[in-house]
């Protein structure tokens, strides 16, 4: 293997380097990609001046953010305020440990990789609540509470849709799950779980239409409002790394990772190319979503989670259970799950076109007298 050495210690070191070095560098590149892509979607050029095609913009921003003054509000709760950043960043890197990028490039091949990933990545919620509380800022507090409510709620459909895949593969090891998809990717059997995973993943990344915790026009950045310089850039880094990880996870458990549509013994470059393509497709999709859709309201977001996504996630699990227990042919899975996906899509469309069917309207009585 060209990257990973024979020596155990050197090997371990190099594997750690994947996480510790490649990920932040990837993030710097990703910020440039995001700005370029968004620029194109918005009929402008994006960064153009730093380096060719503005390629070094990410680097310039990094330097700027690192040299910026680290401002902390006087009245902030210091330990909470300063610890919050790490509570957000560390779990993200911990989660990266479990992701196999190819059959060789990974830090640790865990038997319970999927479980570990989902367990660790949900720790970041604590960091958001801490940042919201510790900043001593009402916007931050509102954002922190929103983040807590939203991220905890959307963990559930996210985990349930991943569980559906694990049921099908009879394994929680990401490596095994990928190897099972050498003929057909799981998306073909689990379209409903896939759709739910992507929607819940968007919510976990708090990107539009679910950017309620950081909503710029409402809570002005939410928990991050009081952070500046390097601390703020760590929030950004956590966000981008999560973006990569969720995309990578989606391509691993639904799109056949580094194997599909070729065979299990692909050359390494092909494996890398496959993973890169699939992950980038998800990343670009998330970026595209970010700039085209408006934001939901917090109660609508909750209604979407608890009244639509969660029942349908359970439905997927029930379908899987039935098929596995009665040993029906696998194509029944495709049909049942596909039908449920169409039903869910129709329901969401119907609800949004006919307001007030499922969502609560903000119908609190107009409590005003004659005086304006």
């Amino acid at each position: 293997m060209f990257l990973l050495a024979d020596n155990v210690w050197l090997d371990a070191f190099l594997r750690m380097a994947i996480v510790a070095v490649l990920v932040p560098v990837g993030v710097i590149l990703l910020t440039w990609v995001e700005r370029k892509v968004i620029g194109r979607l918005q009929q402008r050029l994006g960064p153009m001046h730093v380096g060719p095609y503005g390629l070094l913009q990410g680097l310039a921003d990094t330097i700027k953010l690192m040299t910026k003054e680290d401002v902390r509000p006087d009245s902030a709760d210091r330990p909470t305020f300063e610890l919050a950043v790490f509570v957000i960043v560390v779990p993200v890197f911990m989660a990266a440990v479990a992701i196999p990028f190819t059959s060789d490039i990974f830090v640790r091949n865990m038997a319970l990789g999927l479980f570990y990933f989902l367990a660790v990545s949900s720790l970041g919620i604590v960091g958001f609540v801490m940042a919201g509380w510790g900043s001593d800022n009402k916007y931050a507090l509102l954002g922190g509470v929103r983040a807590g409510a939203q991220l905890i709620s959307y963990e559930i459909p996210l985990i349930l849709s991943a569980v559906a895949v694990a049921m099908l593969g009879q394994s929680l090891s990401l490596y095994t799950l990928v190897e099972l998809q050498d003929n057909t990717p799981f998306i073909a059997y689990q379209p409903l779980a896939f759709v739910i995973f992507v929607i819940a993943g968007l919510a976990e990344l708090y990107r539009q239409p679910f950017d309620i915790p950081v909503a710029e026009s409402e809570v002005v950045g939410g928990p991050t409002v009081e952070y500046s310089g390097i601390r703020w850039s760590m929030f950004q880094m956590a966000e981008f790394v999560s973006l990569v990880l969720i995309s990578a996870l989606a391509s691993l458990i639904f799109l056949g990772g580094w194997i599909w549509p070729f065979s299990a013994d692909n050359a390494t470059w092909l494996q890398i190319a496959l993973m890169a393509t699939k992950t980038s497709a998800f990343i670009l999709f998330f970026m595209w979503m970010r700039v085209t859709v408006p934001r939901l309201r917090i109660d609508q977001l909750m209604a979407l989670c608890w009244q639509i996504l969660l029942p349908f996630a359970f439905l997927q699990i029930i379908i899987n259970g039935l098929v596995l227990v009665y040993d029906w042919p696998t194509w029944t899975l495709t049909i049942l799950s596909g039908a449920a996906t169409i039903a869910m899509g129709t329901l969401i469309y119907y609800v949004s076109r006919r307001s007030g069917v499922l969502y609560q309207t903000s119908g609190a009585a107009q409590r005003v007298g004659s005086v304006l």
């Binding site: 009929q43 309620i212 710029e216 409402e218 408006p294 934001r295 939901l296 309201r297 304006l372």
Partner: protein, 379 residues
């Protein structure tokens, strides 16, 4: 800070209070230097106290020391998104007081420019509203692309991008360029195609529908009592447009419809504004077809414009509603009293009534749907 009798289940002794949140004067959603003090109970807004005056520049006092032609510039600065409409109002007021009849050609050009200005103002509204409702800039850029075409056109005519100062009592400052008709037709084409994009991206978006429909419903009676005007009033279903109700200038010569809503909610306000842009395009097309050649300034205009003793409350239909100017003239070259009735001033005064009891996110949208211009509110 109001203490509510609301208690947390299982914690009967725990006293909770509503918190006050200052939104503005530096906040991305306040469209300028506007501040509102929100009292929130969780996400629910229980009180709104709008605080204005950050942009107060004495735009009613200053004109009392300026001669009538100098005042035109202050109207540009009063509603800086609908400059031609405001200039139109003031110029008409002076003409009505002095008995000047503007030339035919200048009247047509005024109407064309005022209607195009209405379109740019509404495009600005859609751009700003899209960021309020959470689209990360795309609808904003689309709206601004189209606005830019018109803005360039205005610049070609007046030499200014923002403060046009182009209308004069009796006519216009100078004639439009020779290629006026061709450019106008070209711009109408661009606007029409741009409106289609915007409709798909923003107005017909499922999430916008979900968020805006049924939000902040206003009945016709309330709207009238609160002094709402313009798209907010028409969204309630009242067919009232000053261009039809009290036709000024030459608006009685054109065919156009008054779009109205049904519920008076935020979504209806969007739809009304969107349709108004199409109607403005219709007016521009008709005006272009009928526009005669001829002089652009009435004959016999003196260097110093003395307005005979009298008073007038002139009002026009601006993009935001009824823009009025109340002038008391004493026979000198300066107005004795110069009062501006900004549409957003009255519309904004209803903010509390419209938004209390809604969610924090919705209050931002309601504020956006009022389409305030702070310069017009504070003057």
């Amino acid at each position: 800070m109001a203490t509510t009798d609301y208690t947390i289940p299982g914690e009967p002794d725990l006293e909770t209070i509503d918190i006050n949140i200052n939104v503005g004067p530096q906040h991305p959603a306040t469209h300028g230097v506007f501040r509102m003090v929100l009292t929130v109970d969780g996400e629910l807004v229980t009180d709104v106290d709008p605080v204005i005056g950050y942009m107060h520049r004495g735009n009613e006092k200053l004109p009392e020391n300026c001669d009538y032609r100098q005042v035109i510039g202050y109207h540009d600065r009063t509603d800086y998104l609908a400059q031609f409409n405001t200039e139109h109002c003031f110029v008409e007021a002076v003409e009505k007081l002095t008995g000047i009849t503007p030339t035919e050609r200048s009247q047509y050009i005024r109407v064309i420019l005022a209607e195009l200005n209405r379109i740019t103002s509404h495009l600005m509204f859609f751009g700003a509203f899209s960021t309020d409702v959470g689209i990360f800039g795309t609808a904003f850029m689309y709206a601004f692309r189209d606005r830019e075409y018109v803005q360039d056109f205005f610049e070609e005519i007046t030499g200014e991008r923002l403060m046009y100062n182009y209308f004069r009592p009796g006519g216009l400052a100078w004639d439009v360029p020779d290629n006026f008709r061709e450019r106008c037709t070209q711009i109408i084409g661009q606007i029409n195609s741009g409106l289609k994009d915007l409709e798909g991206l923003l107005v017909d978006n499922e999430i916008v529908l979900t968020r805006c429909r049924g939000l902040s419903r206003v009945s016709i009676e309330d709207a009238i009592n609160w002094g709402l005007s313009g798209p907010l009033l028409r969204a309630t279903g009242l067919e009232y447009d000053l261009r039809k109700a009290e036709p000024y200038s030459i608006y009685d010569r054109f065919q156009f419809d008054i779009p109205t809503g049904e519920n008076g909610d935020v979504y209806d306000r969007l739809l009304v504004r969107f349709e108004e842009m199409r109607q403005s395009v219709r007016i521009v097309e008709q005006a272009l077809a009928d526009m005669p050649d001829g002089p652009i300034m009435a004959e016999g205009m003196k260097r110093t414009l003395r307005v005979p003793e009298g008073e007038i409350y002139m009002r026009v239909e601006g993009p935001r509603g009824e823009y009025g100017v109340y002038i008391v003239a004493t026979g000198t070259d300066k107005p004795y009293r110069h009062k501006v009735r900004g549409a957003s001033f009255s519309n904004l005064s209803a903010l509390r009534a419209m938004s209390v009891g809604n969610y924090l996110s919705d209050v931002i949208i309601i504020l956006g749907s009022i389409d305030i211009v702070l310069c017009e509110v504070d003057r």
